[in-house]
Symmetry: C2
DNA sequence: TGTACATCAGTGAACGCGCGTTCACTGATGTAC
DNA sequence: TGTACATCAGTGAACGCGCGTTCACTGATGTAC
């Protein structure tokens, strides 16, 4: 009767059930990415994972706890990717412009690939201070790496306060991607995200904000193909 | 018994109950701005309006319908303000830079003043396609006015595709304000929004994106006072 | 090698709570005669 | 001026539904002797 007490939440030791945990997280990510966190029911998720509702509560304290776990998992991935991509050694003898022009498309693609999950994170973060805090910490890591990398080329930036420029440019870039993530539903017809064009536009804009010359290589697409879907 | 059938939703003709409707909308705006739409209960709102729950459903079809009404009311105000502020006649012999430098602080202030309500709108729009559609229409009105005004000074913009530049700059500006609206909780201590500094930073950034020279008049504040709170 | 028992892993029906919505009601104001 | 009735404006307790969470249960795998 006190049996229940002895079971910890999450991190089971047996390999079989550890695999099951991964299966649940994957299923959760799929369902949540598809329907959103609020609309996804625990029952749905566990059906997708081919497990039972009871098991869910042996792995997670609450439904909210699940999203926190997904965030943790995502954060790890994101930080690893960042540290790899933004490692200063891989950018020696490259200009600030190179960095911006190559990092932005990667970011845009990441946002596209994980759109549903990111959307769920954003919505939760906007409503739950603890969650926001958690997300913010991870976010700052990425921001700082990029800032350091760009400020090591401070001289190239024609701006009276390069640090401020990098920060506001990054904030505006991320905000734009966040807003597109929140509001541009792919299901809806009409404007479809053309990633290449979007990345181009953003690159151009960020370069301008940083006071960097734009090479003509970045085509300026006709304004008709420009992404317009916003709130 | 069929009495109920004969009552229309909303727009009562009697002046007394029309005043009451306004009182309900005001109360709703206060409660929703404070707690958010989901967390605000119909009972709370009607208590704040010193009315009863039953009356609520004589004025609104559903709780969602209330938010739609608030959006409609807000939209009207916003469009009126836009048409007044962005009227071409009041800007004759002013430069594109003047326009940007004066409009942005107004926008920032509007966002600050109506933060709670805008937050509720944004969250709803990100989840309800119909609502998003409605908000989008209003939004486009403002965007177009500003676009027209700036493109009438096309020659001043040093950019290969001025129309595209205006659009992406506006989108990034609005996105940034939206993200700040969603994520920077004023209750939380730490970074507090310094509107003047934020407006300055944004102005500088937008001018750069549009290919306009920055006058030294726009102070570049030390990076320590820079707004950093983002997701 | 067999028996008894403990623990692990998992199940899914039932519970319960919050809150949007309904509905049977009251009281005040107008209108007909 | 009084009476009967219709309509308007408003009330708030009760209902009901969705979904997160619980809990009494099953079956399989170890371990002691």
């Amino acid at each position: 009767v006190i049996r229940q007490r002895t079971r910890w939440h999450s991190t089971p030791k047996q390999p079989r059930s550890q695999a099951r945990l991964a299966r649940i997280l994957d299923a959760a990510e799929r369902v949540i990415a598809d329907k959103g966190f609020e609309q996804a029911t625990v029952a749905q998720i566990m059906a997708e994972a081919k497990s039972s509702v009871g098991l869910f509560y042996q792995r997670f304290k609450t439904k909210d706890d699940l999203l926190r776990c997904l965030l943790a998992r995502f954060t790890e991935e994101a930080i690893a990717l960042t540290d790899q991509t933004l490692d200063p050694h891989s950018w020696t003898s490259r200009t600030a412009e190179d960095i911006v022009a190559e990092v932005i498309p990667v970011l845009v693609e990441l946002y596209r690939a994980r759109r549903g999950l990111l959307r769920a994170f954003l919505l939760k973060a906007s409503v739950d201070p603890d969650f926001h805090q958690q997300a913010h910490i991870a976010e700052q890591h990425v921001a700082q790496r990029l800032e350091e990398l760009l400020l090591s080329r401070k001289r190239e930036l024609r701006h009276p306060d390069p640090a401020a420029a990098v920060r506001i440019a990054y904030q505006m870039l991320r905000s734009t991607l966040n807003v597109l993530t929140l509001f541009v539903t792919p299901r809806r017809s009409g404007y479809q995200l053309d990633n290449a064009a979007l990345a181009d536009q953003l690159t151009r804009a960020v370069l301008a904000m940083l006071g960097l010359k734009t090479r003509t290589k970045h085509r300026s697409r006709s304004s008709k193909t420009t992404q317009r879907s916003t709130l």
